[in-house]
Amino acid sequence: MLYVNIEKKLNNFTLKVNINTDKDILALLGASGAGKSVTLKCIAGIDTPDKGQIILDGQTLFDSKKHINIAPQKREVGYLFQQYALFPNMTVEQNINTGLKKIKKSERKKRTAELIKHFHLKGLEKLRPNTLSGGEQQRVALARIFASQPKVLLLDEPFSSLDNFLKWQLELELKNALNEFFGDVIMVSHNIDEVCKLCNNVSVISKGTVQEKKSVYDLIYHPKTLAEAMITGCKNYSSAQHISSGMYHCPDWGINLKTNNDTENAKYIAIKNEDIKFADNESENVLECEVVQIINEKIGRSIALKTTNSIIYMPLKNDSIIPLKHNKFKIYLDSNKLFLLTGSENDD
């Protein structure tokens, strides 16, 4: 069980983290520069928070009031670095061995052999890290971390240095490794796809503030804040003012929208790209806008539509007509698909 409640002043903002997780795979999802890596470093003890508390399985790792700050060596925290941080001057075997300082010398050899077998590193024992592929390097790094028997596993953007082709196999491998790990896992990522595949729960971190933990499903289908909606790939949003029950004025889109639910403190309205449709004969929530750009996607195309104050992105179904630049279209924003969002506290 890991409890983190810390604050640290960074260059542009103050990092405020509140995490409480128990034998879970939790994702910290946020854009780059949101303070994700610093959070992990504070938990590992490589970086020091300004104030707060970190408690792991009942043991206080950090407490600013009691002046406790346990050395990283004694925290029993496994850290998978972005570039894996394998020691270039050591072989695969020696790298794994460095994780085994806790156990008796006589047992180390046996344990190394087990880990090498388990992580499919047979035949690579005597090689140096720079001769290995990205996937092999990640397996060595994981073997080295498992060797040190940590209580919590911190994964810092584990796939950032890989190309898409390799990524998919590595995600599977990492998933398997995580299933065998019985402690807390915190994974930092900016990619909702990775988070979906590997994590159960997720907290969005935006400008240093960690938002409430929720399930990955809830995050995607019921985002509550603008930061949550945007990180899950919801590009279309407008600021919103509550007019009357179920009615909002959206100045950025230049339209009054009818919504199904009613949250008076909603500050934004958003809709997923794929939920936008061309208007048929709907009478409400119809918006006329002009095509300003046509974008080729991996599959099909999407168009950028200009509204009063913002741009709406809309993927085109394959069979639909292809609009030309400057064409005007009416689109329909389904009230069932609209998200009412609060701003996160430091948006103001």
Partner: protein, 220 residues
């Protein structure tokens, strides 16, 4: 031909390089942890001997170590040892003169060292000294070796500060560089020329060694 100056030069250079190796690395390592203001001041202080005329360094050392000065007189009174005009007195001079070379190369290497490696070591429970000697130093090996060789080369040729603090006493404090000056001054051109050639040969060898070391490695 009396080879004492060569022997003396070599032993002074070897011992000084040995000291400078540890001092330079330690200074480079700890200065990185200082706050910026302190870092700036210490860096100037540590690098100064590189740009000062060696005679100025010699003069300053004599202010400290001279028989009537603070450290010099203290040593003489307690141990009956004079710190100047011995063969080993030159070690003080050479160490100070050569120190910036080792310090600068080690600092450069440490600055380009990837700190996540030492962070990784810490999270794996490795002690700081293990991380330093088994991870940091081996990964900065190339730069540190060229720092050592460069320091050795410079140590071998030190003249100014050495002549002030150890003088020229044949068979006692004479080094190659002081011998060349002394022989030339006394008109022994032929012998001076021999020593000059020896000096050039050794320095060229050392520089050749540096170039071989700095040649990019194909694969580790």
């Amino acid at each position: 031909m009396d080879l004492f100056p060569l022997y003396n030069s070599l032993r002074i250079a070897v011992i000084s390089t040995f000291f400078v190796f540890f001092l330079g690395i330690a200074a480079a390592y700890y200065i990185a942890k200082c706050p910026r203001f302190v870092k700036g001041i210490l860096d100037v202080f540590f690098t100064l001997p590189l740009v000062l005329p060696p005679t100025v360094v010699g003069y300053l050392l004599l202010l400290l170590l001279g028989p009537k000065r603070i450290i010099g007189s203290a040593f003489f009174e307690s141990f009956n040892i004079r710190l100047t005009m011995n063969w080993w007195s030159a070690i003080f001079a050479v160490t100070v003169i050569v120190f910036p070379l080792m310090y600068r190369t080690a600092r450069g290497a440490f600055e380009s060292f990837d700190d996540t490696l030492s962070d990784a070591g810490k999270t794996l429970g490795l002690s700081n000294s293990y991380i330093f000697w088994r991870i940091r130093i081996p990964n900065c090996k190339q730069a540190i070796i060229s720092g050592v060789v460069l320091s050795f080369a410079r140590a071998l040729g030190e003249y100014g500060a050495t002549s002030m603090i150890a003088g020229y006493i044949p068979n006692k404090t004479a080094t190659v560089s002081t011998a060349v000056y002394q022989l030339w001054r006394t008109g022994n051109d032929e012998l001076a020329f021999k020593w000059v050639m020896i000096n050039i040969a050794i320095s060229a060898l050392v520089l050749l060694a540096i170039n071989l070391l700095e040649r990019p490695k194909s694969r580790v």
